[in-house]
């Protein structure tokens, strides 16, 4: 088992990234149990940023692995560039006999080789093939692998912290899930949202913030939205409102300016417009 000093500190998020107590507990548990942390949640709740933030908080390195539909499990460990070797053998470039020249480590491989401890982000694991997570089971458990082409085996010097995000496009295999610590990032409530917004807009007026939050949560409550606005969209919206210098008191009266930053689908525009005509979205929440 690779050496991995216990991290004593509780993960509390950083100045730029606010975490709920539940998420912070999940991170602690994942680190203590030395299991990957699987993060799911609505788009725009900061799943991907979490890994960066953990790395920053503990001062560890960060390796990112953005999974695509064509990604195979082995790509995260290493890739063997057979085509270049073939090319070199035909056109005399490089030392064809030294196979190591054609091996390149992937994000997980690099994390194993690092002197310092690293956080590995496996982003959007659900994009890949169904068998992808299963193929990684052994490597994530034992934290070592062998390069088939050279026979060299690579074991983690320090056990990396693995953060995996999923958008629920596919179901993940049970065997894989069993080995993960799981956390669903719930949509932030008003209080947490206020703290998050303060981070991004430190000097925003209280009135604007309150007005925007009222409007935002009302929008999210509208039935039948295809895509509900998320945190990142709210941050953009407030930026737009501030830039245009809107009077917060007239926010709803003005028919929600810059609605395009919040709603991204045509049908949603129509739905919201209908609601506003009927006066369902008006005034402040009591």
């Amino acid at each position: 088992m690779p050496y991995s000093p216990a991290v004593q500190q509780t993960f509390l998020g950083t100045e730029r990234y606010i975490v709920s107590p539940e998420l912070s507990r999940s991170v602690d548990v994942a680190i203590a149990l030395r299991r990957p942390l699987l993060i799911k949640g609505e788009p725009g709740t900061g799943k991907t940023l979490l890994a960066r933030d953990i790395a920053q908080y503990y001062g560890f390195g960060l390796e990112r692995w953005h999974v695509k539909s064509t990604t195979k499990a082995i790509d995260g460990l290493y890739t063997y560039d057979a085509v270049r070797r073939l090319h070199d053998s035909r056109f005399q470039g490089g030392d064809v006999n030294d196979i190591r020249q054609y091996i390149r480590l992937g994000p997980l491989g690099r994390a194993f080789k690092r002197e310092d401890r690293a956080v590995v982000l496996i982003d959007e694991i659900d994009k890949a093939d169904l068998e992808f997570p299963n193929d990684l089971l052994h490597e994530l458990d034992a934290m070592e692998f062998t390069i088939m082409e050279t026979g060299e085996s690579i074991a983690a010097r320090q056990r990396p912290i693995v953060i995996i995000t999923s958008n629920n496009e596919k179901e993940l295999p049970d065997a894989f899930l069993r080995r993960c610590v799981f956390h669903w990032i719930a949509f932030p409530d008003r209080e947490l949202m206020t703290r998050i917004l303060r981070v991004h807009h430190p000097d925003v007026e209280d009135a604007l913030l309150a007005g925007a939050l009222d409007a935002f949560y009302q929008l999210r409550d509208v039935d039948g939205l295809r895509k509900r606005p998320s945190t990142s969209e709210l941050i953009d919206w407030i930026a737009a409102l501030r830039h245009a210098g809107f009077d917060p008191a007239k926010l709803l009266g003005a028919g929600l300016p810059f609605l395009g930053t919040l709603l991204k689908k045509e049908q949603d525009f129509a739905t919201v417009a209908r609601r506003m005509q009927r006066g369902a979205l008006s005034g402040r929440r009591s």
């Binding site: 107590p21 539940e22 507990r25 999940s26 602690d28 548990v29 994942a30 203590a32 149990l33 299991r35 699987l38 799911k40 057979a82 085509v83 073939l86 053998s89 035909r90 629920n168 496009e169 596919k170 179901e171 049970d174 899930l177 069993r178 993960c180 610590v181 799981f182 956390h183 669903w184 719930a186 039948g224 295809r226």
Partner: protein, 404 residues
């Protein structure tokens, strides 16, 4: 009580394995719950549960197991604390204690909560935090007590109040939420195969061939992997389907979005399929059902969406199609012909499952396996479609298709 929780979770159909349970023990052994009930709630949830759809069941099991409810011997709470402090030592509580604990009611919990709160203020400043972050209090990060009064800023809520609030109800699997989730469910129908399309370089075969060719480059091409699933979608519109229009339209757009089907055709019908189906929901562009039966081969997947709820005559009478003159096969025969032609078929019914055993719904379910229009239902349907059809049903369908 601890094991009760485990069995309560399993009793609710949550796949909590001993493997997870041991991991939880390890986590508690390391003190990750910080000796508080809410800490325990958080640790248990992230270790035991691997799907947000199960959060709600977890909350309910948690509330049920740990709800204290009547006049308590003060030591119950102490015991609870002791247990949380050292889960290994106190793996179970004696039955007497358990009974008393079950009777510990919320009001009592609340009273004690306020008592402790008062005590704290007397003892040290910022005492809110003491309850706020739990310490050894069973109220956990009790910034809120069960009826919802917030104490101080930045606190969370007590574990029981959190569990009771059922915040994750909308994540449950047996409800249909949005297009994206439906699309995700449908995507599992995917079957990749290489048979047509612009060829691409097959690297492994190229290397092999080149090596055999003494190092002279020999290029091998192959067709790309593509989804080979063809889907025929028949939608019931109008009449009794109107209340479900929104849901069905989501399913429809999801099927189109999920895309990646090699071919997707959708047609509309009213109540039951007869001699023709329609390309549009206003029934102007006619397509003969016979044409579908002859031009599409049996590799097509057939999915019908409808409530299967109609006047029995519409299903059983020959020429039951009210909208057409002349007599022809019954609706049931047409359905059986479709099912016979497309062995991989299913019927999605937006009506609640408990109504399926009656009337025309039961008749239709004889022909098509029926699934509910929920995420669970869609998932089961996809699994069903991937399996070969059952011989029994096939024989029954073939018989029905001959009659009329």
């Amino acid at each position: 009580m601890f094991l009760d929780f485990f069995y309560n979770l399993r009793g609710r159909g949550l796949k909590v394995t001993t493997h997870n349970w041991l991991a939880l023990m390890e986590a508690l052994g390391q003190g990750l719950h910080e000796q508080s009930l809410s800490g325990f709630y958080q640790v248990a949830r992230c270790v035991l549960i691997t799907n947000e759809a199960h959060y709600d069941e977890f909350d309910r099991a948690f509330a049920e197991t740990f709800r204290g409810v009547k006049d308590v011997r003060a030591d119950i709470l102490d015991d609870l604390e002791a247990w949380l402090k050292d889960p290994k030592r106190l793996e179970y509580l004696d039955p007497e204690l358990l009974a008393a604990l079950k009777e510990l009611d919320v009001d009592e919990l609340r009273r004690q909560f306020f008592e402790r709160l008062k005590e704290q203020k007397e003892r040290h400043e910022g005492g809110n935090r003491w309850i706020g972050t739990g310490g050894t209090s069973p109220f956990g990060t009790g910034g809120k007590h069960p009826s919802g009064v917030r104490v101080g800023g930045g606190g969370g809520r007590s574990a029981l109040a959190v569990a009771d609030a059922r915040r994750f109800r909308e994540l449950r699997r047996d409800l249909v939420l949005d297009t994206r989730q439906i699309a995700a469910a449908l995507r599992r129908l995917r079957k990749l195969s290489r048979d047509e399309g612009e060829p691409e370089l097959d690297i492994d075969a190229t290397i092999g061939a080149t090596a055999r060719n003494c190092g002279d480059l020999e290029i091998v091409m192959q067709p790309p992997r593509k989804n080979s699933v063809r889907l025929l979608l028949l939608l019931d519109v109008g009449g009794s389907m109107d209340p479900h229009a929104e849901l069905v339209s989501r399913l429809f757009s999801a099927a189109h979005q999920a895309g990646n089907f090699r071919e997707l055709r959708s047609y509309y019908f009213h109540n039951c399929v007869y001699g023709s189906v329609y390309e549009d929901a206003h029934f102007t562009q006619r397509v003969a059902t016979e044409e579908l039966l002859t031009t599409l081969d049996q590799k097509w997947f057939l999915v019908l969406v409808g409530d299967a709820y109609m006047h029995p005559g519409e299903l059983m009478m020959s020429g039951g199609d009210w909208w057409m003159d002349g007599r022809g096969p019954t609706g049931l025969t047409w359905l059986a012909r479709l099912a016979d032609r497309f062995p991989r078929s299913a019927w999605i019914n937006p009506e609640p499952e408990k109504l399926w055993t009656t009337g025309t719904i039961a008749e239709v379910a004889q022909v098509f396996p029926m699934f509910s229009l929920t995420l669970d239902g869609l998932g089961t349907m996809v699994r069903h479609l991937r399996r070969p059809p059952s011989p029994g049903r096939a024989a029954r369908v073939a018989r029905l298709a001959q009659t009329g």
